[in-house]
């Protein structure tokens, strides 16, 4: 009986990607402390991918993981030391595997990007240790590198019979296998190739002289030609013995190209040989491709589900109690009914909270992809960086998490590129060679706070200021507080990096970071001390779906203010207001003057006849800027569910969304940042005009 395996593909892919993440994670820790448990974890992950892919008949993946496993096995048994090169290779293999799985998931061909890596693995394995020469631990290596391996150059003359292709044997494939043993130089002998009109495509008229540079014994080479032994002339001669041990062959010599000329068919095939080792360069392309119809899923802790089940159970009990009360209701049962209703309300709220908690995931999911990037990037920039991660278990909403990934990545890249200085500069500045980058996440009030701090050079506000004036972002000579100057780097088109590097400096980026975070209802703050380092603080709402709101009345309309943004409110009659700078109303809060926005005017709301002077000022804050909103009345506080205006209309500046109140009416949620921005934009326009 046939079982349709494809129904399990999704699970396989999810588990495999998870396994790859685990492998990557453990590999990154491997260099620091390579205890056996780490390697075991990696091994187990590789093993289950191998098992799974074999079950589903993804042969390439299974074969690839098999060689990986062999290497890991040696490491596990202590035969092979844990070195940067090995770890690098394994990391690249993880990337490669991810690429292969992605392609399989997208229903594409696996391609042959992995073949090079496989060869590299084979070479490493059969050679004992490619990088062994500079490692003291190689003594424990197995015997494959013994006396026979002394001979490192082989000359091979290979002259197949014309019918060799008909037997299903393919010289190129054999060469590729040889290539796995070391550097291979191939020379094709084309003397016997007839004129084109006599050429039979099924026949092979070529013979080859090969030179193989690598520690390999004769038997292994013979094995390669095992299948064709009787169908060819084969001569294998050692060329030289024990030269300097060639370090792992990286690139095939350009001579290989010579074989490819003249014969078109041949060229296509050998091109595979040409672009050998520089590996895994194509993996991200496949990643970016759209996946067909794979639904997103989240993993939920069993405790959360259990809580839900308990709650639903209790809800059912309450419901049956209530229906019993309702069946023969008389006024004596009123108290019972009321308490039942109270219980129902409480249970419903708890249920709501638990359901929301299902969407909450630990921020570690995002943080975990950063160590790899930091490692790669610091190597690329030749800086030494120590990444510290704190508070990985802090939970936040899945939607927020998905959208915070890119901004975080960008900030970390920036910190590495511009923040932390090169080793020389650090020593000059009297700091330790290794820079420190700290990622921290914690809850604060109704927000989640993510801090990215480095102990690098810091940001010079004077340079920022000059640059901003240069770019026309601010008028010259204007006085600005330090934080506001720093936050200029998040304006569009601002970049202080002298050289636009591969990593950052194009001036797109920081503004995108800011916009993404603003879109999530959060904000970014920068604090920096010259020579000591920079800290970016991201504040995000815990969830996007629900907001603690303060209902306010303006004219006949009811609006919702996010509770977190409110600082205080004062009756208008007691407020110290004045007009400055040509008719701009301001309110004096402690030592600061903050602009007043009259919501009724601002939103062109129909005038309510009664109200005039007895209103309130609500002092609110967004992105470090405070404004005072003139409103008519404060109503109650309640949690509101945020609905988007954009699903059927357009977004409106100053309004972040809408909600539905208890009476079924729609109420708009105010966006403080947008409000202050539209007021200041207008002022700018006036100035220009």
């Amino acid at each position: 009986m046939d079982i349709d395996l494809s129904q399990f593909y999704q699970v396989f892919f999810e588990e495999s990607f998870e396994g790859l993440d685990t492998m990557e994670h453990e590999l990154l820790h491997l260099e620091e402390d390579s205890d056996r448990e780490n390697i075991n974890t990696i091994f187990r992950a590789a093993h289950s991918i191998k098992g799974g892919s074999a079950t589903f008949n993804f042969k390439e993946v299974a074969e690839f993981t098999h060689v990986m496993e062999t290497l890991l096995d040696e490491m596990r048994e202590g035969k092979r030391p844990v070195e940067k090169e090995t770890v690098d290779l394994l990391l690249r293999s993880v990337d490669c595997l991810r690429g292969m799985l992605n392609r399989i998931q997208d229903g594409e061909e696996v391609g042959d990007s992995h073949i090079d890596l496989v060869n590299y693995f084979n070479e490493l394995l059969s050679n004992g240790s490619s990088s062994g020469s500079d490692s003291p631990a190689t003594e424990v290596d197995d015997s494959s590198a013994d006396s026979e391996g002394e001979i490192t150059r082989w000359s091979i003359h290979f002259e197949p019979e014309a019918y060799i292709l008909e037997t299903g044997n393919e010289p190129v494939r054999m060469f590729r296998e040889l290539k796995g043993y070391g550097e291979l130089t191939a020379k094709a002998n084309l003397d016997k190739v007839p004129d084109f009109d006599e050429l039979k495509p099924e026949s092979c008229f070529m013979s080859w002289d090969l030179e193989l540079d690598g520690e390999v014994d004769e038997d292994a080479i013979k094995e390669t030609f095992e299948w064709v032994e009787d169908d060819c002339k084969l001569e294998i001669k050692p060329l030289s013995s024990a030269g300097g041990k060639a370090k792992a062959a990286k690139v095939v010599s350009a001579n290989a190209d010579e074989t490819t000329e003249e014969n078109e068919e041949e060229e296509v095939q050998t091109s595979n040989v040409k672009n050998m080792v520089p590996v895994a360069s194509e993996k991200p392309a496949a990643k970016a491709a759209q996946k067909p119809a794979s639904t997103a899923s989240i993993r939920v802790g069993i405790d959360k589900v259990d809580t839900l089940i308990d709650l639903v159970g209790e809800l059912v009990i309450t419901q049956s109690m209530l229906s019993e009360v309702g069946e023969n209701f008389d006024i004596s049962k009123l108290n019972l009914l009321l308490s039942g209703l109270g219980e129902l309300e409480q249970k419903t709220r708890e249920l709501q909270e638990s359901v929301m908690r299902i969407r909450m995931l630990p921020i570690g999911f995002v943080f975990n992809r950063l160590p790899r990037m930091v490692r790669d990037l610091s190597t690329q920039l030749s800086k030494k960086v120590n990444l510290e991660i704190k508070g990985e278990s802090t939970e936040l909403d899945k939607t927020v998490m998905e959208q915070i990934g890119d901004p975080l990545t960008h900030l970390v890249r920036n910190a590495l590129d511009h923040g932390i200085e090169s080793v020389d500069r650090r020593i000059e500045a009297g700091k330790s060679e290794t820079g420190t980058l700290i990622l921290n996440a914690f809850h604060q009030g109704g927000n989640i706070v993510i801090e990215i701090s480095d102990d690098g050079a810091g940001i010079n506000p004077d340079i920022i200021y000059r640059k901003a004036v240069e770019k026309g972002l601010i008028p010259d000579g204007i006085e600005m507080p330090r934080e506001q100057i720093l936050s200029l780097i998040m304006e569009p088109g601002f970049s202080t990096a002298e050289v636009v590097s591969d990593v950052s400096g194009r001036g797109v980026g920081m503004d995108v970071v800011k916009r993404n975070i603003n879109n999530l209802g959060g904000n970014v703050e920068i604090s920096s001390e010259l020579g000591k380092g920079t800290t970016f603080t991201i504040r995000l709402p815990l969830t996007l779906a629900i907001l603690d709101g303060q209902l306010i009345k303006v004219g006949d309309e009811t609006f919702v203010l996010p509770l977190v943004s409110i600082i205080e409110s004062v009756p208008l009659s007691m407020a110290e207001t004045s007009r400055i700078a040509g008719d701009m109303p301001v309110y004096k809060l402690h030592e600061d003057y903050i602009p007043i926005i009259d919501l009724q005017e601002e939103f062109e709301i129909r005038k309510n006849l009664g109200a005039s002077n007895d209103g309130l000022l609500a002092i609110v804050e967004g992105e470090n800027r405070k404004i005072a909103l003139r409103i008519d009345e404060l109503l109650g506080q309640q949690q509101v569910v945020i609905k988007s205006l954009e699903s059927h209309y357009k977004s409106i500046q100053g309004v972040s969304g809408a909600t539905i109140l208890g009476d079924g009416r729609v109420s708009l949620i105010l966006d403080i940042v947008g409000l202050s921005k539209r007021a200041s934009d207008r002022t700018h326009k006036k100035l220009v005009a």
Binding site: K643, S647, H648, Y649, K650, S651, A658, I660, V666
Partner: protein, 183 residues
């Protein structure tokens, strides 16, 4: 056996053809409604539902004909008053005032827009060929909003061009996002 099945299938196909022909003869169906003193119509396929008038929550700085937003079973739907959009002078909100929820497509996503009219009149079928062009002069209504005239029960009914009428880009709403000018 197979022959019998083939016969049944053929018969069914013929039946389907017949229905299609019948539909072609009868043309498409339209919903007509009254705005001011005139009758207008839209393709019935564009109508999601019809609701009694209720006062929507107004949007800040919206042009007068955007009355605000409504709660339609949990989603927020904008409401446009067609009488104001067509610059009719006299109108009121009374018992027959209704909101017709029309489907449209904006930037590839499906949106809804509530349209306030004085009353719904009829559903009728008319063939596409019976739709005449709108004479292009002197109408108070922006000619982009109309796409034809048809005769129903001896009086003229204007067919609306919903693509333009409901196009959010053609709604000039200050401070609103999208490709809208702030003018």
């Amino acid at each position: 056996m197979t022959n019998e099945m083939m016969k049944v299938i053929e018969q069914q196909e013929q039946a389907i053809d017949y229905v299609e022909e019948a539909q072609e003869e009868n043309g498409s169906q339209f919903l007509s409604f009254v705005v001011g003193d005139e009758e207008f119509s839209v393709s019935i396929l564009k109508v999601q539902e019809i609701r009694a008038w209720e006062n929507p929550t107004s949007l800040p700085n919206s042009p007068g004909y955007i009355k605000g937003v409504l709660n339609l079973r949990g989603t927020i739907v904008p409401v446009m008053d067609l009488r104001m959009r067509f610059r009719f002078k006299h109108f009121e909100y009374d018992a027959t005032t209704v909101i017709i929820l029309l489907k449209n497509n904006y930037n590839g996503k499906d949106c809804l827009m509530g349209c306030v009219v004085d009353g719904v009149s009829d559903v009728f079928s008319i063939s596409e060929s019976a739709i005449r062009e709108v004479p292009d002069y002197g109408s108070a209504i922006d000619s982009r909003f109309t796409s034809g005239i048809m005769t129903v029960n001896n009086h003229a009914v204007t067919l609306l061009n919903l693509e333009n009428l409901l196009n959010l880009d053609l709604i000039k709403h200050p401070y609103a996002g999208g490709n809208v000018s702030n003018g």
